[in-house]
């Protein structure tokens, strides 16, 4: 049986968990077994809807104290639920919560684990999972040798699959141990799609010359409904907040569209964005290395090109 852990943030199921659900359902089909979702805490979503992404059944441990991340608690409960259900594979999203919890669950289940998986395993001869390594500069195929397996699937790498079904919900009862951490303050970034979940990202580099020029980038992002990112020197100089820093030493993203404005395309920057499906580079230097990694390029001054692109998008949207 494949068990898919559905995590939540702010009592909402994340898109990355729905991708994990779709992945788990496809894997169960490949293995010829059942697939069940597991959710801890209380969420506002209709859990039966997990069926739309392939869940046959949803185990729900309804307990408000599980709404925020406590790795010791969550990993213990997930491992217990997996054992009770005789799960042979446990699937996580490789997001902030999954990265923190999945390896601990693997230890508790004596399972081999692959995190950052990029596709379904090859099960013809063993159980081989492909993952991204070297910050997206390569892939490794990894054989899991244990009877129970844990997989954490990369965000934005397995598309949502729609099914025309509804899942049955089964409330489960596992006694919840005392929490190991106490949350004293929560600061949400309001109104923004987290970068790792964004389909469209507009990103700026040192070529924009200073924080006072960011309005042209923000206008473009708004016209597209995109999230914003930046290169490392930009966040190091406090032109933009740290959570926007993408790259090898920032966050790694894989949106459908990445628009890079005034970014040279250093190897450390590319490592964070090279899994994007489509890359557009706007740079006044035709020799900028980023053009080699781009699908579309505009050689020109960002201060002219970006506002023109924003207008063109608004025009397209108003006539669509």
């Amino acid at each position: 049986m494949v068990l898919v852990y559905i995590d939540q943030a702010d009592q909402q199921i994340k898109k990355s968990s729905l991708e994990a659900m779709s992945y788990g359902a496809a894997l169960a089909k490949q293995l010829g077994c059942d697939v069940t979702a597991l959710i801890l805490g209380t969420v506002q979503n209709n859990l039966a809807d997990l069926g739309k992404h392939g869940a046959q059944k949803v185990y729900h441990l309804k307990n408000e104290s599980l709404n925020s991340l406590d790795v010791k608690l969550h990993s213990t409960l997930i491992a217990t639920a997996a054992k009770n259900a005789n799960a042979t594979v446990v699937v996580f999203a490789h997001n902030i919560n999954g990265k923190a919890i999945a390896p601990a669950v693997a230890v508790k289940l004596e399972a081999g684990i692959v995190t950052g998986a990029s596709s379904l395993p090859n099960t013809e001869n063993g159980f081989v999972v492909t993952k991204t390594v070297f910050s997206g500069k390569a892939f490794a195929s990894i054989q899991i040798e244990t009877a129970i397996k844990v997989i954490a699937i990369n965000q934005n790498s397995f598309g949502l699959v729609d099914y025309d079904t509804s899942a049955t919900i089964e409330e489960i009862n596992i006694s919840v141990p005392a929490p190991s951490i106490k949350i004293t303050k929560v600061d949400k970034i309001e109104g923004e799609i987290p970068l790792t979940e964004a389909n469209l990202v507009v990103s700026g580099g040192r070529g924009l010359k200073g924080p006072e020029h960011w309005n042209i980038l923000l206008d473009l992002a708004k016209a597209l409904g995109a999230s914003t990112a930046c290169s490392r020197p930009v966040s190091d100089s406090d032109w933009r907040p740290h959570h926007e820093h993408v790259g090898q030493t920032g966050i790694q993203i894989a949106p459908n569209l990445y628009i890079a404005i005034g970014i040279s395309g250093a190897i450390q920057h590319l490592a964070g964005v090279n899994r994007s499906k489509t890359i557009v580079v706007i740079n006044k230097d035709p020799e900028a290395p980023f053009f080699k990694a781009a699908d579309y390029g505009v050689v020109g001054d960002a201060f002219e090109v970006v506002p023109a692109l924003t207008s063109a998008i608004l025009k397209m949207k108003s006539t669509a």
């Binding site: 990265k99 190991s180 450390q268």
Partner: protein, 247 residues
């Protein structure tokens, strides 16, 4: 306070990523090795900052690696830290590595164990979480601030869509990221001192790896950039809509 900092050796960020032996091994030819940036810039420097506040703090570094990891561990000692332990083994299996470090951690009764948020080579982000499970300690991931008050740690961490402050009792495992500390450069005194700091080599405990790498692959190269005239942004919008189908 006894702190254990986990140090990993990784290829330099500009290293050419290529493979040998029928794509089953990373090609180390000409590769420069560095301390994994998250381990160095955030985990190690944070430990040093804590020692600067409280001189009774003891910092030990641990790495699981062969003798070729020693220059890296000496460099880490040059930044700070009292002594280092090298577990004489090499493995790509996270559990194998975590098990070795957990064994060292138990023997040394450390109250704080630091890791970087992930390594820049295998990007597994697994060691901290695994250590916490093996040792049965709480785990706080993606920390960007830490204050200690007696037996209680106040940690700020990244969560989905924001940040959170939490209080946790020691002993504790923390994975560190940007914000936790300011990157430093080792000075001459540190480099000299590092030469004589103890670097203990211990043999690994027997552990069966749970995964093994079968092969590596490089991503497909992009087919080439399509240039669009900077005065014709309608064309770019059209391409993004109709050809790339991303907007």
């Amino acid at each position: 306070m006894k702190i254990l900092v986990c140090i990993s050796k990784t290829p330099d960020t500009t290293a050419k990523i290529a493979f040998t032996e029928g794509n089953t091994k990373f090609d180390e030819n000409g590769v420069q090795w560095i301390i994994n940036p998250y381990d160095e810039w955030y985990a190690l420097v944070k430990a040093i900052e804590l020692k600067e506040k409280d001189a009774s703090t003891i910092i030990h570094l641990v790495t699981v690696g062969l003798a070729d990891a020693e220059p890296i561990i000496r460099k880490a000692l040059a930044l700070g830290g009292d002594e280092a332990i090298r577990v004489n083994s090499n493995s790509n299996d996270s559990f194998y590595v975590a098990k070795q470090i957990a064994t060292i951690a138990k023997e040394g009764s450390y109250e704080l164990i630091f890791t970087g948020k992930e390594t820049i080579d295998y990007n597994s982000a697994s060691i901290g979480s695994m250590l916490s499970a093996i040792l049965d300690f709480p785990f706080v991931s993606l920390a960007n601030q830490l204050d200690l008050n007696g037996n209680t740690a106040t940690v700020r961490r990244e969560i989905e869509g924001g940040e959170e402050t939490c209080e946790v009792n020691l002993p504790l495992v923390i994975s560190c990221q940007k914000g936790m500390a300011e990157q430093r450069i080792p000075n001459m005194r540190g480099i000299m001192a590092a030469r004589t700091k103890p670097l203990k080599v211990v043999e690994p405990i027997e552990t069966i790896a749970r995964t093994s790498i079968k092969k590596f692959e490089s991503p497909l190269a992009k087919s080439g950039v399509k240039l669009v005239d900077p005065t014709n942004m309608d064309e770019l919008v059209k391409l993004l809509k109709e050809e790339a189908k991303v907007i």
